[in-house]
């Protein structure tokens, strides 16, 4: 009977651990939720509205914003940093994609900062990695090196009063990686609750300035095959993202 009791105990444990839906309770960790917001000059972006001006005083609108973030890392003092392995795809027109709960939790405690990869690191950026839309639709064609777009921003700009489309598409070109390893400013925090909420904001205007003022008429609509454009995006993108942090329920 002792043996059967042992078997029963094992099976009960199996039942408890065998289903994905079961939740492990661990008070020493925090679940990380990231919200994604997008602004122009500090105000929430208004899509399909030709109301923005870049640093060169060129009018433009935004119609599409899609991008990957990956390699989110939480840095700690005198301890190894914690990296989350998730790759998340954001589409401003897909509300569900604007909030993401990371699969892995982080230990509670003090952190000195947050970093992440805008786009995909070369080791993550391999053709065929994503088989299902919407991620698969970010593919970057093989004749241009393969892998995936890091980002697609699309809209219109005015040339002599007439609108033209621009496709601000970024990615690894001909094997040259242009992802950005971003150290978020003002991102030290202490988490003492079992939830951590991060709000990652993309300031779109910053893609078009600092250090290089983006000239729509110079780069025009198609830039995927243009190394100069990809390099400019990489350099301008360093200060595009900021983060807001709160622990506990929002």
């Amino acid at each position: 009977m002792k043996a059967s009791g042992f078997v029963m105990a094992v099976l009960v444990i199996s039942l408890i651990t065998g289903c994905e839906e079961n939740i492990k309770v661990d008070t020493a960790t925090a679940e990380v939720t990231m919200l994604f917001t997008h602004s122009v000059d500090g105000n929430k972006v208004q899509l399909d509205n030709l109301i923005y001006k870049n640093a060169l005083n060129q009018d433009y609108s935004i119609k599409t914003i899609k991008y990957f973030i990956s390699g989110v890392r939480f840095h700690r003092l005198d301890q190894p940093s914690v990296e989350l392995n998730d790759i998340h795809f954001v589409d401003i027109r897909d509300t569900e994609s604007l909030s993401y709960v990371f699969e892995q939790k982080i230990p509670q405690g003090a952190y000195t900062g947050i970093s992440f990869v805008y786009g995909l690191s070369p080791e993550d950026n391999t053709s065929g990695r994503f088989t299902q839309p919407p991620e698969s639709l970010m593919e970057w064609p093989e004749p241009m090196g393969g892998g995936y777009h890091y980002m697609k921003i699309e809209g219109e700009y005015l040339v002599n009063g007439s609108p033209s489309f621009f496709n601000f598409h970024a990615g690894m070109l001909d094997g040259v990686p242009y992802e950005i390893h971003i150290d978020l400013p003002n991102s030290a925090f202490t988490v003492s609750d079992n939830t951590l909420h991060l709000t990652l904001n993309m300031e779109i205007q910053n893609w078009f300035q600092n250090p290089t003022d983006w000239d729509f008429e110079y780069f025009r609509g198609a830039i995927m095959g243009n190394h100069e454009a990809q390099k400019t995006i990489q350099e301008n993108g360093v200060d595009v993202f900021t983060v807001g942090i709160s622990d506990g329920a929002l």
Partner: protein
């Protein structure tokens, strides 16, 4: 003691199993699983748990697909407009029935979204308005449905499930392009130039005709008209969707003309001419049409010919003549 252990073990395993599975309809036990061949390079196909492919279901679906009895007045079958030699398309200007197992949006204006079962249910109930009394009174169909789905009464559900099973076998992925990717074929210089045009922003076909399926299954206004047809607007009622239509697959495109949602172009050359110089502005043109201001991608005659040559490498002759997909009544 060992009996107690065995009972405990059995009960325990039952608990573990029952605690995890979904409450889907169990497949008919007497059926034979159908081994679906997925073309190399294609992702796995998601098949609903309540409609697994079986030999009986696929055969029944094939028979239904080619049977005019499906239409209330016996005038048309699926295959009347979806002809194998035309990649299950035709000059009736319907979208080809190929690789639909990976699609979630169906028909030019995406009137139906969901699974293959959903679009087949639409076809049976709304398009054909199938008379099920007729099917139920047919001894052969009664027997085939009994074997495939273990039902005594045939309804639109079983008919759509059988059709969906057959449609999931209509997979085309063995063209010269596929062989090129696998290192089994080489492109001519002209085809290779077309391949480069297709996959760079000079031609910029790849954004909408994306992935191994050569479609993003999404809705776009591709600048056909200054006053476009309603398209997706008819479904959503959103003015932002006016003039949008589903990107068709380009696989077997040489056999699926005429082209565009209204069949206005009879040849691939006309289609490429349109994208080269014929774009028209309207309020909802997709920003991917970034050469709109200049009327198109402005290809030279040689490059237009190269693009057409590449498009013809997407033809899968084996698929177009595969006897397992052909009319079973012949």
């Amino acid at each position: 003691m060992s009996n107690v252990k065995n009972i405990t073990l059995g009960f325990g395993l039952l608990l573990v199993y029952a605690g995890c599975i979904d409450d889907d309809i169990a497949p008919v036990e007497s059926t034979t699983p159908y081994e679906l061949e997925i073309p190399l390079g294609f992702p796995d196909m998601t098949i609903p748990a309540d409609n697994p492919l079986t030999v009986e279901g696929v055969q029944l679906g094939r028979k239904l697909y080619y049977d005019k009895m499906l239409e209330r007045d016996n005038s048309r079958a699926c295959a009347t407009c979806h002809v194998q030699a035309h990649s299950f398309s035709s000059d009736a200007n319907v979208l080809p029935h190929i690789n639909l197992g990976w699609s979630r949006n169906f028909l030019w204006n995406s009137k139906v979204s969901g699974s293959v079962e959903d679009i087949m249910l639409f076809e049976v109930e709304e398009f054909f308005k199938t008379d099920f009394e007729k099917l139920n009174n047919d001894p052969e169909y009664s027997n085939l449905f009994k074997m495939a789905f273990n039902v005594d009464q045939i309804t639109s559900t079983e008919a759509s499930y059988a059709l969906a099973q057959f449609v999931r076998t209509l997979n085309s992925g063995n063209s010269k392009f596929d062989k090129f990717l696998r290192g089994e074929a080489t492109f001519t210089n002209e085809e290779y130039l077309g391949y480069e045009l297709f996959y760079t922003e000079e031609g910029d076909c790849f954004h909408c005709h994306a992935t191994m399926f050569f479609t993003d299954n999404s809705m776009h206004n591709n600048a056909l008209d200054s006053i476009p047809d309603p398209g997706y607007f008819e479904i959503t009622g959103d003015s932002a969707d006016y003039g949008k239509f589903k990107s068709p697959t380009l696989r077997n495109i040489a056999f699926t003309g005429p082209y565009m949602h209204d069949g206005r172009f009879n040849s691939l050359e006309e289609v490429v001419d349109f994208y080269s110089r014929g774009l028209e502005r309207s309020a909802t043109v997709d920003p991917l049409m970034k050469n709109l201001a200049s009327g198109g991608i402005q290809l030279s005659a040689g490059k237009k010919a190269a693009l057409v040559a590449f498009l013809k490498t997407l033809s899968d002759e084996d698929f177009l003549t595969n006897p397992e997909l052909s009319d079973p009544f012949n």
